[in-house]
C-alpha cells in the first residue's frame, strides 16, 4: 500500500476491484465501513462475482475475468474525454508533458521493438527526448504529438464505452456509472482509494492491471493524499515482509537487484543499478544505491567484505536466468534440480497445473519440507484416492519433514500491507519437536559450514566467511536478527558536510538509511528497514495509538518503512507552493522553512517549493510515470486476452492473432500445448478465496472446517439451467490439464455476460481444499490452472482460464 489500512477511512470513494477486501481482509475492511459510516463515503465494487464486498457496496458492476485493462483503459479515456482530471497535478507531478522518442510506435497491438522469437521488447525507443544538458525535454503546453499526454490520449481513444462493454461484458450504463463515481474524485479535495489484491496480480498482464489504475490515480491527483493511493492488500500477515526482505531469485533485500551474468564486477553492477538524474534538482533517491548495497554486503560478510575485495561482490551468485516459481518448477520438471527446500509453502496446491508440479517433485532426489502443518506437498508421493492418484513405487524422491513453529509460536516482526512493521511476542510454545524457522535454517547452515571447513569445496569462502555473530550460532534470536537488519555503524560515521563531525558512533545502531555509507563504515540487512531498531530501541514494539491528526496516522505505533513514513509521495498532497490540496486532510505542508505536519515528509525537509524538487523521489525525473518504460510489456497498458480466452481473439486487434494474449509473456513449450480452446472449454473460470478459510492452512483447523466443510464450485443460474445442474448437485469441472469434482452452488451472484456478441458464462472455484486436513477431502483446484505468468512478475494466471462443466 502507498497508504495504510487506517487511512482507508479518509477516502470519499472506496473502490474494490481486482480483490475482495471484505472476504480476504475482513479486519482491514472495517476502515472501508468506517469511511461509509463516518465520512459518507461511497463503496463501489467491480468484479466477475457479486462478492461479500459487493453485498455492502453502494454500486456493483460485473466484469469478465481477465478484461480489467479494457475496463480501466476505458476509465482513462472517459476522464480525458470529459476533462475530469486534476490539471495542475498532472502537469507538474507526472511525466505527461515529457517528450518521447519520435520512433516510439504502437501498431497492431505491438509496441516498437518487439522480437517475436524471444517474445520480448527492445525498449530503445521507449525513451525520453534528451536535451543537450542530458535532461529530459518537456512541452509544458502538452500539445506536442510526441508528449506523453498526447500519446496517452491517442492510445486510449480506442477504449470507448461501447468497446469497453464489448470486451468486458460490463453493461455500458454500469461502466459509465462507475466512471462517474471515479470522475468525482478529480476535484482537488476529493480522493478515491483503490483496494486490490490477487484479482489483479494473477493474470498474464497482472502488473499492467495495477499500472492502469495507478495512471487513473495520477490523473485524478489521488497519489500522496490521505484517503488515496494504490493499495495492494497483501496475503498472509507477513507477505509484505517477505517481499521487502526478498525471497525472489531476481532481487535482494530492499528491492535491490540480484547481480546477474551481465554484471561480472562490482563497478559494472553499481553503475548499471544507479539511475541517472533526468531533470535538474531532483532527489533521485536510488542514486544512493551503492550505500545500501555496500551496507548489505557488510551485513553479509562483516570484516571479510573490504574495499579491496569490492565488498565481497565476487562471492555473490550471478544469476543466469529466471528463478521465479514457474521457472523453478519448469527446471525441476526437466530434471535439472536435485534438491528442494520448501519452507512455509505448499506448491503442490498453490502453483498452477498440479500435475506438472507433482511430476516435477517426483524428479527430485530429495525434498525438505519446513512447515508447521502436514502439507499436501509433503505427501505428493502418497496416494489419496482420486484426489491424488500417484504410484509411490515410481517416486524416488526422499522427503524430509521438519516441523516448524507456527506464527503464534514465534517471536519476531510482521510487516502489514501498510508497511507498518510490528513486533509480536509468541503466544505459546510449539508442540513436540517443532522449532522456529530461524533455528532450523541456522542449524542447517552451521552444519554445512562445518562440512565446508572440514572437506573444502569449489568455493567455500561465501559460506565460511559469512558473518554469523549470534550468541548461539544454531539459534539466532529474533532481537539479534532485527538489530542486524536495521544496521549499525562499524566505524564512526561522519557528517558529509563537516567531515570532523561524528553523527553515529562506531558500534551504535543506525537511526536512518540516510546514515548509510558506501565506504564500509556501516552495515544493514535491508536499507528500507533502517530505523526500526535504532539506539532508541525496538521501535516496532511501540504501541502508542494516539492520533492527534485524527487521520489515523499514529506515528508512534510500530515503525513504518521507509523512515516511519505512513503515506508515500506525501509531498504530492500539496500544490506547487506547498499548500495542502485539502486543508482538512493535511498530511504535510510547507511551513515557510521546512516540510512538516502529520507524517514524515517524503521530501528533503528543507527543500523549499521554489526549488522544484518533485514528489516522486524514487524516479530520476522526480515525477510519476504515466509512460513507464520499465515495464516488460509496454509503456502504456494494453488489453490482451488471457491465454485461454472464450472469444478466440483480441477485439482490439481482431486481425492479429499474435497479440491475442500478452505478446511479452513467457510461455514454456510444453505449456503452450496444453492451453485449452473455447470450442472444447467454453466457460471462463476464475479461482479465489473465501473468508472462512486461509489458503491451504485452515483446512487443518476444525473451526474453519465447520464453517466451510466441503469443496464447491459456483455457477450462474443460466448456465445451471443449460447444463441441467441443480443446487447441491455433484459436478465435474475439466480444463485441458485435468479435472476436479465438487458440489455445485447455483447462484444469482455470477452473472452471464455478453462479450463480443457472445454469451459468456463464468465458473467460480474457491481454492481451499486438498487431501490433507480436517475438512472433507477435496481436489486441488490448481489441477485446472494454466502454467503461464505475468510478463513482469511471472505471477501465474490463476484468475482467468477456460473449463467445461458437467453434472456427474
Amino acid at each position: 500500500m502507498t497508504n495504510h489500512w487506517v487511512d482507508i477511512k479518509n477516502a470519499d470513494l472506496v473502490m474494490v476491484m481486482g480483490g475482495n477486501a471484505a472476504e480476504a481482509h475482513p479486519c482491514g475492511f472495517k476502515w472501508a465501513i468506517e469511511a461509509k459510516k463516518e465520512r459518507k463515503a461511497k463503496l463501489i465494487v467491480v468484479d466477475p462475482r457479486f462478492t461479500r464486498s459487493a453485498a455492502v457496496a453502494d454500486y456493483y458492476a460485473p466484469v469478465r475475468a481477465g478484461s480489467d485493462i479494457a475496463f480501466l483503459g476505458g476509465v482513462i479515456s472517459y476522464l480525458l474525454t470529459n476533462d475530469k482530471i486534476h490539471h495542475e497535478y498532472v502537469k507538474n507531478y507526472t511525466n505527461a508533458a515529457y517528450l518521447i522518442n519520435p520512433d516510439f510506435k504502437f501498431d497492431g497491438g505491438l509496441f516498437s521493438g518487439y522480437n517475436a522469437e524471444k517474445r520480448n521488447y527492445d525498449k530503445a525507443t521507449w525513451s525520453y527526448q534528451l536535451g543537450k544538458d542530458g535532461y529530459a525535454m518537456l512541452d509544458e503546453t502538452m500539445q506536442d504529438p510526441n508528449c506523453v499526454f498526447q500519446l496517452m490520449k491517442k492510445h486510449y481513444s480506442r477504449y470507448t464505452p461501447d468497446m469497453v462493454s464489448k470486451v468486458t461484458g460490463t453493461p455500458k450504463e454500469s461502466f459509465l456509472k462507475v466512471c462517474e463515481y471515479i470522475a468525482d474524485t478529480a476535484a482537488a479535495n476529493k480522493t478515491m482509494t483503490i483496494l486490490y489484491a490477487l484479482g489483479w496480480t494473477q493474470h498474464s498482464h497482472g502488473s499492467q492491471n495495477i499500472r492502469t489504475m495507478a495512471m487513473i490515480q495520477l490523473l485524478l491527483g489521488n497519489m500522496g493524499m490521505a484517503g488515496g493511493g494504490i493499495n495492494a492488500l497483501r496475503g498472509h500477515a507477513n507477505v509484505q515482509g517477505i517481499t521487502d526482505m526478498c525471497l525472489f531469485g531476481a532481487s535482494l533485500p530492499g528491492y535491490m537487484g540480484c547481480p546477474n551474468e551481465k554484471e561480472p564486477d562490482f563497478k559494472t553492477y553499481i553503475e548499471k543499478r544507479t539511475p541517472k538524474m533526468l531533470r535538474p534538482n531532483q532527489m533521485n533517491y536510488w542514486q544512493n544505491y551503492s550505500k545500501f548495497f555496500v551496507s548489505l554486503m557488510k551485513s553479509f560478510y562483516g570484516n571479510a567484505a573490504t574495499k579491496e575485495n569490492d565488498y565481497a561482490y565476487d562471492w555473490m551468485p550471478k544469476i543466469d536466468g529466471a528463478y521465479d516459481t514457474l521457472a523453478l518448477f519448469d527446471k525441476m520438471h526437466q530434471g535439472k534440480i536435485n534438491g528442494f527446500v520448501c519452507q512455509g509453502w505448499n506448491p503442490l496446491a498453490s502453483v498452477s497445473n498440479k500435475k506438472k508440479v507433482g511430476d516435477a517433485l517426483a524428479k527430485l532426489k530429495y525434498l525438505v519440507v519446513i512447515d508447521p502443518l502436514a502439507t499436501d506437498t509433503s505427501e505428493f508421493w502418497k496416494p489419496h484416492g482420486e484426489f491424488n492418484e500417484v504410484d509411490p513405487s515410481k517416486v524416488p524422491t526422499e522427503v524430509f519433514r521438519l516441523p516448524a513453529n507456527l506464527f503464534a509460536e514465534q517471536t519476531g516482526s510482521y510487516t502489514n500491507s501498510g508497511r507498518v512493521i510490528q513486533w509480536h511476542w509468541k503466544a505459546a510454545d510449539g508442540p513436540g519437536e517443532s522449532k522456529d524457522d530461524s533455528e532450523i535454517l541456522a542449524t542447517l547452515f552451521v552444519k554445512l559450514r562445518d562440512m565446508y571447513a572440514k572437506d573444502g569445496g569449489k568455493l567455500p569462502d561465501p559460506i565460511l566467511k559469512m558473518s554469523w555473530p549470534y550468541r548461539n550460532p544454531n539459534k539466532p534470536l529474533p532481537e539479534e536478527l532485527a538489530m542486524e537488519i536495521n544496521g549499525k555503524a562499524l566505524g564512526d560515521v561522519f557528517d558529509p558536510k563537516d567531515k570532523t563531525k561524528v553523527i553515529v558512533k562506531a558500534g551504535d545502531q543506525l537511526a536512518s538509511f540516510a546514515q548509510m555509507r558506501d565506504d564500509g563504515s556501516t552495515s544493514g540487512g535491508n536499507w528500507l528497514y533502517c530505523g526500526m531498531w535504532s539506539q532508541a530501541g525496538n521501535l516496532t514494539a511501540r504501541r502508542d495509538n494516539s492520533d492527534p491528526s485524527g487521520l489515523g496516522q499514529t506515528l508512534n505505533w510500530g515503525f513504518a518503512w521507509p523512515a516511519n513514513r505512513r503515506i508515500l509521495y506525501n509531498r504530492a498532497s500539496c500544490d506547487m507552493a506547498g499548500k495542502p490540496w485539502d486543508a482538512k486532510r493535511t498530511v504535510i505542508k510547507w511551513t515557510g522553512d521546512k516540510w512538516a505536519g502529520n507524517d514524515v515528509p517524503d521530501m528533503r525537509p528543507n527543500a523549499a517549493p521554489d526549488e522544484n524538487v518533485m514528489p516522486f523521489i524514487m524516479t530520476g525525473e522526480g515525477v510519476a510515470r504515466l509512460f513507464a518504460p520499465g515495464m516488460a510489456d509496454g509503456p502504456f497498458p494494453e488489453h490482451y486476452e488471457p491465454f485461454e480466452t472464450p472469444i478466440d481473439k483480441n477485439p482490439f486487434h481482431p486481425d492479429n492473432p499474435k497479440v491475442t494474449s500478452n505478446p511479452a509473456a513467457r510461455v514454456y513449450k510444453n505449456d503452450m500445448e496444453v492451453f485449452g480452446k473455447a470450442k472444447d472449454f467454453p466457460y471462463v473460470c476464475t479461482t479465489y478465496r473465501l473468508v472462512e478459510h486461509f489458503h491451504f492452512w485452515t483446512k487443518h483447523s476444525k473451526l474453519n472446517a465447520i464453517l466451510q466443510p466441503e469443496q464447491f464450485v459456483e455457477i450462474g443460474e443460466e448456465l445451471a439451467k443449460e447444463k441441467g445442474i441443480a443446487n447441491g448437485d455433484k459436478v465435474k469441472v475439466r480444463s485441458n490439464r485435468g479435472f476436479i469434482k465438487a458440489v455445485a452452488v447455483v447462484t444469482k451472484r455470477i452473472p452471464t455476460l455478453m462479450v463480443d456478441g457472445k454469451k459468456v458464462h463464468t465458473v467460480g472455484i474457491p481454492i481451499h481444499w486438498g487431501f490433507k486436513g480436517v475438512t472433507k477431502p477435496g481436489f486441488i483446484t490448481n489441477t485446472l490452472t494454466p502454467y503461464v505468468g505475468d510478463a513482469n512478475s511471472q505471477t501465474p494466471e490463476f484468475k482467468a482460464f477456460l473449463v467445461n462443466i458437467e453434472k456427474i
Binding site: K30, K702, I706, A744, V745, T775
Partner: protein
C-alpha cells in the same frame, strides 16, 4: 449458567415473585445487517467462548454452514439472494436467539427454573432444570431452541450472559470486524440504529428501519434492516412475530391452577400430546416432577 439470582426477573413455571432490590440496565445487541460482510467470525467466537464444536458438515449448495442452528451452533449466518428494483442484493443475517422481552419459550416452559429472564433482558436456559420437553421450541416465534439428541436438553444463544454479568460484551460483538454487531444498553442501541437508518435512507433505502418487533414486547437482539418493511426477505425473519395462542392458553390457565400440581401436570401432558405426541422420556420426567410436587 451460574445463577445470578439477584438479577432474575422471571423464571419458568414459577409463581414466587422475582427479587427486586437491584437495578440493572436493559441491554441489547444490535445487528446492523447493512454493514455485515457475512464473515462468520461471530460463529467462531460463539463456538470458542462456549466450547461447542458442531460436526464438519457438507455443502448443500449455499454458503450457510452449519446449514441450520443446532444444539452446538447457537448462531448461524443466513444468506439470501434477492432482486430488488432489478438490482441484486445479497442479504446476510446473523440468526440466533432474539431475547424477547415477552419470551414465548419461557412462557411455554413447564420446568421450573429451566428458562430464566434476567432483569437486563437476557433470556437464558438453565439446562440443569431442563426436562427436554421441547415446549420452548413450540413457544418460540423465531424457531431458535434446539433439543440435543445427546442429553435431551434445549440449547440456544445465551447472549453471553456470563460475559455480560461481568461487564463484557458478548463474544460475537467483540470479534465482529466491521462493527456490524454492537452491544450496549437498549437505549444506546436504538440511538445508534437511528443514525444507521438515516445513513441508509440517504443511500436510497427508503424503507430502512429497526427491527424490534412489538408482538413479543420488543427484543434484546435487534436488527437494522435495509428493507424493514419486508423482514421476510432476510431468510424468513418473521414480519410480525407473536407468541403461539396455545402458549397463551397454557399461561392463562396455568397460573390459577399452579398450586394444583396434578392439574398442571395433566394440562402439560395434554399440551405436549397436542403439540408433539407421546414422548416416553418426557413422561418419565413429568412423573418425577409430579412426585416432587407432591412432597
Amino acid at each position: 449458567m451460574a445463577l445470578q439470582s439477584l438479577d432474575i426477573a422471571r423464571r419458568s413455571a414459577t409463581t414466587t415473585p422475582a427479587p427486586g432490590v437491584r437495578q440493572t440496565t436493559e441491554v441489547a445487541k444490535l445487528i446492523d445487517v447493512s454493514t455485515c460482510i457475512g464473515c462468520k467470525a461471530c460463529q467462531v467466537a460463539c463456538m470458542e467462548w462456549n466450547d461447542i464444536r458442531d460436526e464438519v458438515g457438507s455443502n448443500v449448495g449455499v454458503y450457510d454452514n452449519p446449514a441450520d442452528l443446532t444444539p452446538k451452533s447457537w448462531t448461524v449466518m443466513r444468506y439470501a439472494e434477492v432482486e430488488e428494483k432489478g438490482k441484486l442484493e445479497w442479504l446476510i443475517r446473523k440468526d440466533g436467539c432474539m431475547h424477547c422481552a415477552d419470551p414465548g419459550c419461557l412462557k411455554a416452559c413447564p420446568a421450573p427454573g429451566a428458562i430464566i429472564q434476567y432483569a437486563n433482558g437476557i433470556v437464558d436456559f438453565h439446562q440443569e432444570n431442563c426436562i427436554g420437553c421441547g415446549y420452548c421450541v413450540t413457544g418460540c416465534p423465531f424457531n431458535i431452541p434446539r433439543i440435543s439428541q445427546e442429553d435431551s436438553k434445549a440449547y440456544k444463544c445465551t447472549l453471553c450472559s456470563d460475559r455480560v454479568a461481568v461487564g463484557q460484551a458478548p463474544a460475537c460483538a467483540k470479534v465482529c470486524p466491521t462493527g456490524a454487531i454492537q452491544f450496549g444498553s437498549k437505549e444506546q442501541m436504538k440511538d445508534y440504529a437511528a443514525k444507521r437508518v438515516v445513513d441508509l435512507k440517504s443511500r436510497g433505502y427508503d424503507k430502512a428501519g429497526l427491527y424490534d418487533p412489538a408482538g413479543v414486547g420488543g427484543t434484546h437482539v435487534m436488527y437494522v434492516l435495509h428493507h424493514a418493511d419486508r423482514p421476510e426477505l432476510y431468510k424468513g425473519l418473521p414480519n410480525d412475530p407473536g407468541i403461539s395462542p396455545l402458549v397463551s392458553l397454557w399461561k392463562g390457565l396455568a397460573k390459577p391452577v399452579a398450586t394444583v400440581a396434578m392439574a398442571a401436570v395433566a394440562l402439560g401432558s395434554l399440551f405436549h400430546y397436542v403439540m408433539k405426541g407421546p414422548n416416553e422420556v418426557s413422561k418419565e420426567l413429568e412423573d418425577e416432577l409430579e412426585k416432587e410436587d407432591a412432597k
